[in-house]
Subunit: 187 residues, 2 copies
């Protein structure tokens, strides 16, 4: 069973990735980098200590799984781990969303800039949204669709939501840009 310990979102991320088939800490990090990183960034320095914690708590088991002479650990989620993951997925606890974006912070204070520079700032934000959307459609969604064909649909759902959200922001900023452009005195 293991002792009770406080599980945080990164803990559930590990459990969830193991459930989706990742086996090593390295594999968890790699999977996170092409999926969950957009809404829950994770670094390797978090992964290994967290897996050890989960093992002590009995939510995962660890087995030696060397690859040639290279040491490797294979982790598996236990029945307790599975129960913990499901309980979290069902829990109604509302963690406030954390969003930190220097670009939007700049936009908030953009009144301090002359009109020309305001336009430049908005354009940069729009281009950033555009390339974020493109990256998701190019690199993330195809991978999620492979999972989808194997019967795991929500990674693709989340990736589409992300891409569409970026697309929406891009269109919104394009309209703002057009409005600012009209206001500029003709020269």
């Amino acid at each position: 069973m293991g002792r009770a310990l406080k599980l945080k979102p990164p803990s559930y991320l590990m459990l969830g990735m193991l459930r989706l088939g990742a086996r090593s800490g390295y594999a968890i990090k790699k999977a996170a980098d092409v999926s969950t990183r957009f809404f829950w960034p994770t670094s390797l320095a978090q992964v290994y200590p967290e897996l050890a914690r989960l093992e002590r708590a009995g939510l995962v088991t660890r087995r030696e799984d060397p690859h040639g002479a290279r040491a490797r650990s294979a982790y598996e989620i236990t029945a307790d781990g599975d129960a913990a993951l499901l309980a979290w997925l069902r829990s109604t606890r509302e963690e406030p969303l954390q969003f930190r974006d220097e670009g939007v912070l700049r936009l908030f204070f953009a009144d301090a800039l002359p009109g020309e520079d305001q336009l430049t700032l908005v354009r940069r934000l729009r281009e950033r949204a555009l390339s974020a959307e493109a990256q998701m459609r190019r690199e993330i969604i195809p991978l999620a669709e492979v999972l989808e064909q194997a019967g795991t649909r929500y990674p693709a759902v989340v990736a589409s939501l992300g891409a569409d959200a970026y697309a929406h922001a891009e269109k919104w900023l394009a309209r703002l840009e057009a409005r600012l452009d009209e206001e500029r005195p003709a020269r």
Copy 2:
């Protein structure tokens, strides 16, 4: 002039709020709570040390401004501070956006849940988006519009962008919810 020091987004937040008319640390925090907190949360314990840092660097000046027997400091942005703020607004450095949302993380792993519970989870996310949008329209946008009438437009721009983004997410999740509902076996 003061010594050079590394300025981070919270530093510019202070400078920007002073520029918009906040005078005390407390007032900066209050203003942030109804505006920038949605894309750059700030706590009081950050505000006071940061103002002291900015003062040492010569980007703000501080003056005793007691209210009756209650001590109070009035801060003002200096010409150097103003220049630093403008340079930041114009800089092209792209800080990656940080987004952490436990709700979306849950959605990503929702395949582990039975269909009924998937629907519940999606519904909760939709309701959260809906109430976030409502809160922005009710509490944040009206305040921003007051500023707008005084000639400061971007706080209102950013608040509208936020509200519309939440509205977009809500509609997206409503469509997902409808799709999931159709799939459920009739009983």
